[in-house]
Amino acid sequence: MRAAFFGGVYSNWLALEQALRDARQRGAEAIYCLGDLGAFGPHPDRSIELLREGGVPTVQGNYDDSVGNDRPDCGCGYTDPRDNHYARISYAYTQEKTSSAHKPWLATLPHKLAFENAGLRYSMVHGSPRQQNEFLWETASPDHLLERLCGDADVLLCTHTGLHWQRTLPSGKRVVNVGALGRPANDGRTCVWYAFLDTEAEEPFAFIPVSYDHQRLAREMREEKLPDEFVETVLTGWWTTCLEVLPAKERLKGRF
């Protein structure tokens, strides 16, 4: 089986469009999205329409829940005032610009999707199975916790952090954080990432870099008067905002 898993789209419709093309070219029989369609980028409806028109099964992220249900904030789970400052700007824009026609769809997306293949159970969530906005960072998620979160699943797929990683647990179960299409992975590269499953491959999960027209995205963000800090991230590959939530090791890998 070949399947693609997209995380955190954050309104980066240009990267989403490219990732859909790339996954199909690689022979994906199924494409899933793990939620957070809005935030950060411009024109939130464009990403939603790409997913709806493409019939992509989508898990509800905290952003989708908030926008869909007109909640007062994005529910991202930040605790630092600086993180929350930018989260508020991003949420106000996304909430205003998301068509009311899409909000009921966002509001009713499932919290979890699952499938079985060759006797293995795959479970897909946004943050974690127990909390939609739980951050599962690579260096802050102990094995014993992940074993517990997997429950009956053999493979747990998640997103929400924006950084991709995978780990095989002592039990043999696997956790894959599929990363994000919405913004670069804080590594100084402008590409974004998704996860690709090929059950015939020696390593079943691979992370795929997606190059897209990030200059155009930056232009559109500027036209929409989104913060310069967001644009800088798109152009440089370094996170400039929502950094305070990062664990020490992840933070040290970035520039800021």
């Binding site: 005032p81 600086r82 802050a140 998620s141 014993h144 305070e244 020490a248 090791k249 800021f256």
Partner: protein, 291 residues
Amino acid sequence: MTGLVQLQSNRAGPSVRFRWLDALWIQVTGTLCNIACLHCFISCGPKATQVPMMSAEEIERALSDGRDLGMRQVYFTGGEPFLHPELRRVVRGALAIAPLTIITNGLLIDEATAGWLAEESAASRYSLDLRVSLDGMTAAQNDPVRGRGTFDLIVESLARLARHGLSPVVTVVEHEQVESSRTLFLDFVRGLGIRQPRVKFLPLLRIGREERRTHGYEEIMNDVPLLPEVEASLLCASGRIVTAQGVYTCPILIEHATARISDSLAGAQRDLQLSWAACQTCVLDGLRCNT
């Protein structure tokens, strides 16, 4: 007390449902500290032994219990954790199973200790965070509450950690003299050589020695149910602290017998009534002790 309400347990308060064990706090050195800050919310100091130091075996048992309960992260606190004679052993034990934050005044982090911390951090799959207290950008701001000469020593420790490639979180208590501009503080910390500066401001907790320095709490909380998102975000909804004297609701209440809720970590996984006046600092002022 001057007509203000002492911590008490004979009144009800809003209830908090225990969700799961997320943060395991361990009071590794009890109340033993190498300084005696005037605003300390416990009454820690060089002669303070009212909460005893934990043995390495007790700490390891807490870590093991925490792992069995699915904890997500560990915090070592005190007192001053670097006074623990077997700190290296228990730090390595904690980092073998989970991310670790050490809450410290930084004064005992010499060159050898900073080097060792950097090695442990690099060797571990999990993140090691150091939270270093500094209550001002000048000695004139910091030293009146943390003690004469501490500013220079803490700043040296922060620069030392930075030279070893570590990025400590600087925690700042918002006392009367402190300049609490986040931007200025970030610039100040960056100036110490910390490339990715992190600063966490904390409100004063009007208990412990701070209660004697200024005053305690006026009782303003009632029994009205908390908003679900507030309730879920409280430390006591997903955290507990293990001490040598049992398991308590949270790190700020370890000197209060009524906050001791169990002999064991497993037994402490239960719902609470916020019947302590200090709880208003989390509920109303938004204090969150997580890193």
